[in-house]
Every structure is written in C-alpha cells, then in structure tokens.
C-alpha cells in the first residue's frame, strides 16, 4: 500500500490491563476513503483498539502511524452529548473548534438527513435513545472529518433505526469519501457496510482474518450467495473463538 493511500496504520500493538493481556502484536491499516471494519466478539479488545487507534489511550508498545494534520471524529459506544446544550448547540460545540466554512448549512443538512430537523432545539434528555445515537453520529460528520471512528454505534438500536443509520453512513461516505473505521460485533453489519473487514480474535491473538468485500455497497444483500458464504465463514470463526464447552456436557447433566 502506498503511503498516500494509507490513512492510519497500527504496527505490533500491545496492551494489557494489569495482568490481563488485551491486545498482542496487533497489526492493521486503514486506507483512505474506505469503510474499514473491525469485527470481533464481546471482550475481544475492540474498544481498547478503538481508543488506541483514535489516540484516546496509549498502547504499551507498538507504533501508530497517522498524519496529525488529519481531522478525526468519534462516535462513542454510548452517546456523549452535553446534557445542558440543545441538539444544535452540541454540534456547534465541536464545530467551533475547527473554524469551518458553511457551518450552519452543514448542520442543517445533517439534521435534515438524520431526521432530526424538528429537534434542533431539544435537549438530549428530550430525545429518544435512537435519536441521541443519531445526534452523536451527525456530530462526528459536522466537523468535516478525514476519518471517523465508530465504536459499535448501533449496539442498542432497533432494526429500523439500524438500517436507517447504516444507510445514512453509507450515503455520506459515498458522497464525501470520508474514511470510516467501524467497530462492531455484528457480522451482518460488517458485511453490508464495510469494504474491508478485520476479524479480531479473542484472547489477544491479534487479527484472525482479513476479508475484502468487493460488491458495490448499495446492492449488497445478505442473501447473496457470496456474502452468505462469507457470513458462514465468519460465524465459524466466531464459534471457534468461543471456548469449547463440549467437555462439560457430563457435568451439566449431573448438576441439573
């Protein structure tokens, strides 16, 4: 990969919390203009990697290669909105740090796209959980970022909101070319949205597999044989990642 094409690279990242090793010799790179997805089961160190890649936390060792002139934006797992500011003020709060052109127009567009136009002057507690997630998401795009980090943004959402948000991200990305680094535990979501998927192994074994999804994003369907096969493959990896409980069959029978 050429230097110009690469927006972020992690080399041999290690991270432990006390005696618990979370990431070991982890390598990954994110190309400019792609949706790169980190897929892994719960507890596989996804959020730790998100925090290290985005600079919120330091790795114990390893190298993070990124251009500091680039602008990063963040969508946290649970929305981090300022409760004393209205929806619009929450966007203004981050926009003001960058001196952007046409701030207000961009804000209005994002409110329109996310279906929150009527709620610009509402405080976060007046919005539903799904609306708060949407607000968190459009705040990231409101700063015209080069790279957006998304940490399981759809985790607690219902199916309809999920599909809508996925579409919103997909459209904004296609039109702007903003690079997206998405973290999820949902294989379907990864396959429908990402250009490239890294599967994170459990128990600090590093990246288990890298999958490239070539199909155009708009026409992807999980029922498509090729994607379905990929889904099966991922599920198999996941199943193997979860520790084998066959050996306790006898105990289960006895104790119940």
């Amino acid at each position: 990969m050429t230097e110009a094409n690469r927006i972020l690279e992690l080399k041999n990242i290690n991270k432990s919390f006390q005696s618990l090793k979370v990431l070991q010799d982890l390598n990954l790179e994110i190309k400019k203009g792609e949706i790169c997805c980190l897929l892994g089961p719960s507890g596989s160190g996804k959020t730790t990697l998100f925090r290290i890649a985005s600079g919120l936390e330091k790795a114990d060792s390893g190298q993070i290669i990124k251009n500091n002139k680039l602008r990063f934006a963040y969508v946290f797992q649970s929305p981090r909105l300022l409760p004393w500011k209205t929806a619009a003020e929450n966007l203004i709060f981050v926009q003001e740090n960058y001196g952007l052109e046409k701030e207000a127009e961009l804000r209005n567009l994002l409110f329109e796209l996310s279906g929150l136009a009527q709620f610009k002057n509402a405080y976060p507690h007046e919005l539903s959980g799904g609306m708060q997630e949407r607000l968190e998401l459009i705040r990231a795009f409101a700063v015209k970022p080069d790279l957006v980090f998304l940490d399981e943004p759809f985790k607690s959402l219902d199916m309809k909101t999920r599909v809508n948000l996925r579409k919103l991200i997909s459209v904004i990305q296609a039109e702007t070319g903003i690079t997206i680094f998405l973290i999820t535990h949902d294989p379907e979501e990864a396959l429908l949205l990402a250009d490239r998927i890294y599967i994170l192994a459990a128990e600090a074994e590093g990246i288990k597999k890298e999958i490239k999804v070539e199909q155009p994003r708009d026409s992807r369907k999980i029922a498509d044989p090729e994607l379905y096969q990929e889904l099966e493959n991922i599920m198999e990896i996941f199943t193997n990642l979860v520790s084998d409980i066959e050996y306790v069959r006898e105990d289960i029978r006895k104790l119940f």
Partner: protein
C-alpha cells in the same frame, strides 16, 4: 415560592398562631407577647428606621463574607481536586474547621479582633460557610462525568472552553446546593456573631432586646430573620435552581 406555600403549611401556621394567641392571653407579655404586641414592636422598629439600618448592616456583612467564602471554597476545591498532595495535606484541616463549634470561633475572634463591629461577624461567617461550599464543590468535581471531557478533548476543544462549557455547567447543580446550605449557615452565623461581639446589626438588636427584657422586640426581630431566610431559600435560590436545571429530566 410554590414549594413553600402549601395548604398543609397554611393550616399548620394558623394552628401555631392560634396556640400563640391563646398562650399569650394567659401569660405575661415578658414571657410570651401576643401577636398584636409583636406586630406593634415590629411597627416601632420599622418606623424608627432601626429595622432597615440594622438589616442592611447584617446583610452587608453576610454578603461580603459569604462572597469570600464562595470564592475561597471554589478555588480550594479546584486545587485540591487537581493536586493530590494538596488534597492529602489540607482535606483533614477543612474537616477540622468544619467540625469546630461556631462558639469557639466567635470566642477566638473576640480575643483576636476585639469587639470589632465588622471583622468578627465576617470572620465567623467565612469560617463557617467556606467548608460547606468546599465540600459540595469538591464532591461535584469528584463525581464529574469524565467521558464528556474526553469527548471534548478528542474534538480538540481548547482547555478554557472545556472549563467554561463542561466543568462549570457540570458543577452548577452542586454549586447551587452549596450556595443554599452555606447561606443558611452564613445568615445564622452573622446574627450569632453580632449578638456576642458587635454593636450593630440585627444580632446586636436581638442582644439589646434580650437584655432589656423586651420579648416583643425579640419576637419582631426573629420574624424578620425568618422571613428573609425564607425569601432567599424559597424564592431566590429556587429561581436559580430552576434556571440551572432546565436541561434536566425530572
């Protein structure tokens, strides 16, 4: 004053007034003056100008000392929250100051400053209400949502804006509750110090009424003190509370 003026309270007040009037009818006014006598005393001190003059003196002392206590309590809380060495050094000292009975402070103040009209009440108010402000703000800082600060930093927010737009609004509820509790302490301490060691202010007037056995005046001044305290607590601070928690879900 919507939280204050409730039907049950009015009923209770009427009962208290009835018992008062009934009790006063059978007792010497030295022991318990009637409502009418108290009203008369109130009118006298109002007409003579003592009421406004003494009230303003006590009010001025309270505002000065309370203001200083608020500023000092906030600065101390910020410093001790920020530097753990300071926290480990001074936190016990503040607890000691807080648990020392006011009567000791006022005795010391008389020894140190003499019967200083302004200095003794101001010292007492400060020393009594500053720890209250400190404890509330310090707790507010400890309980602050650090996720929001991390978010702001991640979006390159300058330090000053983080202080102004995250720390300050986060602390406002704790600050308002501190202001409320500390004001009650300040107002009472002010009158107490004036009673013991001053020749002006409401406390001094109370002490005079007491030594002249003018129980009706004692009652009149007490009513003034209570009314003002209620006005601050249930009107001014209530308005402030409503304003700072307008974004809250309740």
């Amino acid at each position: 004053m919507k939280n204050f003026i409730t039907k049950p309270f009015w009923i209770l007040l009427i009962i208290i007034f009835l018992i008062w009037e009934r009790g006063a009818a059978g007792l010497n006014s030295l022991i318990l003056p009637s409502i009418g006598e108290t009203y008369q005393a109130l009118k006298e001190i109002a007409v003579s100008g003592i009421l406004v003059e003494s009230f303003l003196i006590t009010f001025r002392r309270t505002v000065i000392a309370y203001g200083l206590a608020v500023i000092a309590g906030m600065i101390l809380a910020l410093l001790l929250h920020r530097f753990s060495l300071l926290e480990r050094t001074f936190r016990p000292l503040i607890t000691i100051i807080q648990s020392t009975p006011p009567v000791i402070w006022v005795s010391l103040a008389v020894v140190w400053f003499g019967v200083a009209d302004d200095l003794t009440p101001i010292f007492l108010i400060f020393i009594v209400s500053m720890p209250v402000i400190f404890v509330n703000i310090y707790q507010g800082l400890e309980e602050m949502n650090t996720d929001l600060i991390e978010m702001a930093r991640a979006y390159s927010t300058p330090r000053f804006r983080i202080l102004k737009e995250i720390y300050l609004p986060s602390l406002l509820p704790a600050l308002v509750s501190a202001l409320s509790v500390a004001f009650a302490f300040a107002w009472k301490s002010s009158v107490f110090a004036e009673f013991i060691a001053s020749s002006s202010g409401i406390g001094y007037q109370l002490s005079r009424a007491n030594s002249m056995l003018a129980t009706d005046r004692l009652f009149a001044w007490t009513i003034i003190l209570i009314l003002f305290m209620l006005f601050v607590e249930y009107y001014l601070l209530e308005k402030l509370k409503e304003h700072v928690s307008r974004w809250k879900n309740d």
